[in-house]
């Protein structure tokens, strides 16, 4: 038989007979004749044995260019993934389980989610985390929805946030018919004076990214003060690795923290699957969308984990649910949790310090090579923008050497990123190539 159907044709005939059917036709009698596909009408290639499939898919993978050195971030970051993380995430039980509806035989997966929720609370300094959503941008959009208030119909989003996040927030807002108002950016950071102007009693929240899309650190203290004075909520979109060294959303007094969890042990993978994390204050816990795992006891009094607070969810509340989310990114959350368990607090802090040290060294070297920092006054973590005459020329010179340079933002601006993966020698080589192009 083809594919993964185990029953032989003889067995199938026997089963059909035992059920009183004369053939497969009988099983599909309810399908109107007009919509029945004829035999072999499906325009797909013939099924292939595994060896041929292997060859075909490998050939596709070979069409891609894998860079040896990566200096590009902009929402997807190249970090070291300890081998143990892949081993754990590839355990078949974790990989092939469904959502843990039957707690008695799902304590393993439930506990991993509980541990993940704890990790996210620790990282962000918040009280309550959900089990994940699709990605960082969706987390931001869902957070805006959590802040919805009948009397407050506008959402403010910093224009220094990742444009991809802004785009997703807009799409979700089109659904709910909520107005999204961008807060202008000035010198690479959110313009807090403009923010003051835009705030009003009809604003439900501000979405602020920190470090922002340009890599710069925001004046969160001022923003949170202004937002709360206006009776609105502050949503911070944060980089999880940076939180090992940067002041947390909890410390700033944010109401919700969200972000892209990909840096925590997930491969770049052309953009997915990734992981949207969401954490909130105790007060907003019951507004969180999606799965949440809680601790309880079983009949014998043993500690037990279950899916909980389900009264928020679609399968109970239907059109009144806090979100439609059902499947989330559980295995990606497990990866993140395993990554944090392997790295530990010191390892994560080390990764963060290395990101920062290497990015600052890269900025200095590029500056010497004629790529001036676009925002010399701003402080940054591991991303920054440079200005030079011909960005494309610089990037294509790097490309020839197997180096993926920063992301071109315009003809003369490039957004760079460095992580623990980049060595000093690699940074110096990159700067030298740039220097040849600029002639600095």
């Amino acid at each position: 038989m083809t594919g993964y159907v185990p029953n032989t044709p003889e067995e199938q005939q026997q089963m059909l007979k035992e059920c009183g059917f004369s053939g497969f036709e009988d099983l599909y009698a309810d399908i109107p004749e007009q919509v029945r596909l004829g035999q072999d009408a499906l325009r797909l290639p013939d099924g292939m044995p595994e060896i041929a499939v292997h060859r075909a898919v490998e050939e596709m993978a070979a069409q891609n260019k894998v860079y040896r050195h990566i200096f590009r971030g902009a929402g997807a970051y190249n970090h070291y993934i300890p081998a143990i993380v892949n081993t754990i995430a590839n355990r078949e039980e974790f990989r092939t389980a469904y959502t843990p509806y039957q707690a008695e035989i799902s304590q393993g997966v439930l506990q991993t989610i509980f541990e993940y929720q704890t990790d996210i609370c620790e990282l962000t300094g918040m009280d309550a985390s959900n089990a994940s959503v699709y990605d960082g941008a969706v987390a931001a959009a869902e957070a805006c929805e959590m802040c919805r208030d009948r009397k407050r119909s506008r959402i403010l989003v910093s224009q220094a946030a990742d444009p991809k996040i802004l785009s997703v927030v807009r799409t979700y807002s089109f659904g709910r018919d909520v107005e999204v108002v961008p807060v202008p950016e000035k010198d690479g950071v959110t313009d807090t004076d403009a923010l003051q102007e835009l705030l009003g009693s009809d604003v439900s929240c501000l979405l602020l990214q920190h470090p922002n899309f340009y890599g710069n650190l925001e004046d969160v203290d001022t923003a949170v003060q202004k937002v709360h004075d206006a009776g609105a909520k502050l949503i911070m979109s944060v980089n999880p690795i940076s939180l090992a060294v940067l002041k947390t959303p909890g410390e700033y007094g944010a109401d919700i923290a969200v972000g892209e969890g990909q840096p925590l042990g997930l491969p770049l993978a052309f953009g997915g699957p990734y992981l949207g994390f969401m954490a909130a204050t105790q007060k907003m816990m019951r507004k969180l969308p999606g799965r949440i795992v809680g601790q309880t006891v079983d009949r014998a009094g043993n500690r037990t984990f279950v899916l909980t607070l389900q009264a928020r969810e679609q399968h109970i509340r239907r059109e009144k649910a806090s979100s439609n989310i059902c499947s989330n990114e559980a295995l990606c959350a497990l990866r993140a949790s395993a990554y944090m368990a392997a790295m530990g607090p010191e390892g994560l802090r080390d990764a963060a310090c290395q990101c920062s040290a290497k990015a600052h060294y890269l900025q200095q070297k590029l500056s010497e090579a004629g790529l001036a920092p676009a925002y010399p006054e701003a402080e940054f973590f591991h991303e920054f923008v440079t200005v030079c005459k011909d960005a494309e020329k610089v990037l294509s010179a790097l490309d020839k050497e197997g180096i993926l340079g920063g992301l071109p933002l315009s003809e003369d601006r490039i957004l760079w990123c460095a992580t623990e993966m980049n060595t000093k020698a690699e940074i110096e080589k990159t700067a030298a190539i740039c220097k040849e192009v600029t002639g600095a």
Partner: protein, 466 residues
């Protein structure tokens, strides 16, 4: 089971990074974290053992029979995983230049083309990361279509009462009012109720077909005609596509917008709750509204980057493996396996709808509950002691004391025979000794949890101070 935090001892960690050969350059003190970061500190051996222990207490498709209705827990082929782990896929940055990602584009375009062919749609986006995400996306296409035509009074989405909870939830997220219509006595759409519900305010109908009671709605062409004549569009929830793939196509049934679940129908693993992938498809007249095109008319993006790409690689691998003849063959065997189980159980288990089913069937234990006090929950819990995963419980909502069984095509006849024997044995036990059924399970690592306590007193993170 200890929590990972309870296994932790200070300074026990493993170092994975080399020493930094550059001077520290952290941002200034005002930006610094003050709170200690309490992540676990474990040597790698302990990390490995911790997760091995947790894996042992997790039940996957590889562990055994998993007839979770509506979830299509078919076998997840290993070749899919190996292909998705190719460095030529995993190491690709999503913002690389077009000429460096030709292979990724080929994967996506080929999969989109095949999904169009299987569903009878003209265009597909791989952006949605799950079924519910696909529903939301598809409903926004419907919204954009009516808006662009200036038909702003179309604010209502009709959803049968048998639908998955995600349907009404997605419709609400897309800003629609939900009109729920009752199903007829066969569990199918009540044509009179539908006719009464449609009108000038109808934006569309959402329907799962085969529906959630496991039946192919024989009036499907009439249903889509009624909605179209009223000016609405028809949305197909592809949750149950596995029963009819290669046999019949939603596009030919009159549907305008669909989503499919790669993690159900196309064999990608469910991961204990994701990552999935829920591509949305549509007919040509809606294609301009699709996300990810960056073109005028598009609803915008529903995620940061392209797709759950590695999931797409797995689904493509699966379709290439099965091909033209394997796709309908899988559907046929899924339907056969379900009917076989149903027939072999129906002498003692009352079926909610006693006709030929598609890939799943629904048992109703209302009578048993009434006579013995044994509920669908008790029956499901008893199955755990036999080492099998129970069916979906209490869904669809229109069937009382429901157990929804979906064996899938990848189970052997011997497995079905064993499971049929287990079901019958449990039924006998329930009839003879109903009281003890409330105690089930007794052989699992933990017993029935106190869910009320969990919700009343939420403990959703580890307490380091306790």
């Amino acid at each position: 089971m200890k929590l990972v935090f309870e296994r932790s001892r200070s300074d026990r960690g493993t170092a994975y990074l080399e020493k930094c050969d550059l001077p520290s350059a952290l941002p200034s003190e005002k930006f610094a974290r003050k709170t200690p970061l309490r992540l676990p500190e474990l040597p790698e051996t302990e990390v490995d053992r911790h997760y091995t222990e947790l894996a042992k207490q997790t039940y996957g498709v590889n562990s055994g029979f998993y007839p979770l209705g509506s979830c299509t827990m078919k076998y997840n082929p290993q070749i899919n995983e190996e292909m998705a782990a190719l460095p030529g896929f995993t190491n690709i940055h999503p913002l690389q230049a077009e000429e460096t990602v030709k292979g990724c584009r080929q994967v996506c375009e080929t999969l989109e083309k095949y999904l169009c062919e299987i569903t009878g749609m003209d265009a597909v986006t791989l952006q949605p990361a799950a079924g519910a995400h696909g529903e939301f996306t598809g409903l926004l296409l419907i919204k954009a279509y009516h808006r662009e035509r200036g038909d702003v009074k179309r604010t209502k989405i009709i959803v049968p009462d048998s639908a998955h909870g995600t349907n009404p939830a997605s419709a609400a997220m897309a800003g629609f009012e939900v009109i729920s219509i009752a199903s007829d006595e066969h569990g199918c759409v009540d044509l009179e109720a539908l006719k009464a519900a449609v009108g000038e305010d109808t934006a569309g109908l959402m329907l799962t077909n085969p529906n959630t009671v496991g039946l192919f709605d024989p009036n499907i062409l009439e249903i889509t005609r009624i909605v179209h004549e009223a000016g609405g569009l028809c949305y197909y929830d592809g949750a149950n596509l596995n029963a009819v793939m290669g046999i019949a196509r939603p596009g030919d049934m009159g549907f305008d917008v669909i989503h499919v679940n790669l993690h159900k129908t196309f064999s990608t693993p469910h991961g204990g709750g994701g990552p999935g992938s829920g591509p949305s498809g549509c007919k040509q007249f809606l294609a301009r509204y699709l996300p990810g095109t960056g073109k005028e008319g598009s609803i915008g993006d529903v995620r940061s980057f392209g797709s759950n790409f590695l999931v797409a690689v797995k689904a493509l691998t699966y379709i290439l493996s099965l091909g033209r003849e394997g796709i309908p063959a899988a559907a046929c065997n899924a339907v056969l396996n379900a009917n076989y189980m149903k027939v072999k159980l129906s002498d003692i288990f009352p079926m909610a709808y006693d006709t030929v089913c598609m890939h799943e069937f629904v048992i109703t234990l209302e009578k048993l509950k009434h006579e013995t006090g044994v509920s669908a929950l008790d029956m499901a819990k008893a199955m755990l002691d036999f080492g099998i995963h129970p069916p979906t419980m209490y869904f669809p909502l229109i069937v009382h004391e429901a157990l929804m069984v979906e064996p899938t095509e990848t189970e052997t006849k011997e497995t079905l025979d064993e499971v049929i024997a287990i079901f019958r044995e449990i039924f006998r036990e329930a009839s003879e000794n109903p009281e003890q059924m409330h105690e089930k399970p007794v052989k699992t690592p933990v017993l029935r949890p106190d869910e009320v306590l969990a919700a009343r007193n939420p403990v959703i993170r580890y307490d380091f101070e306790a």
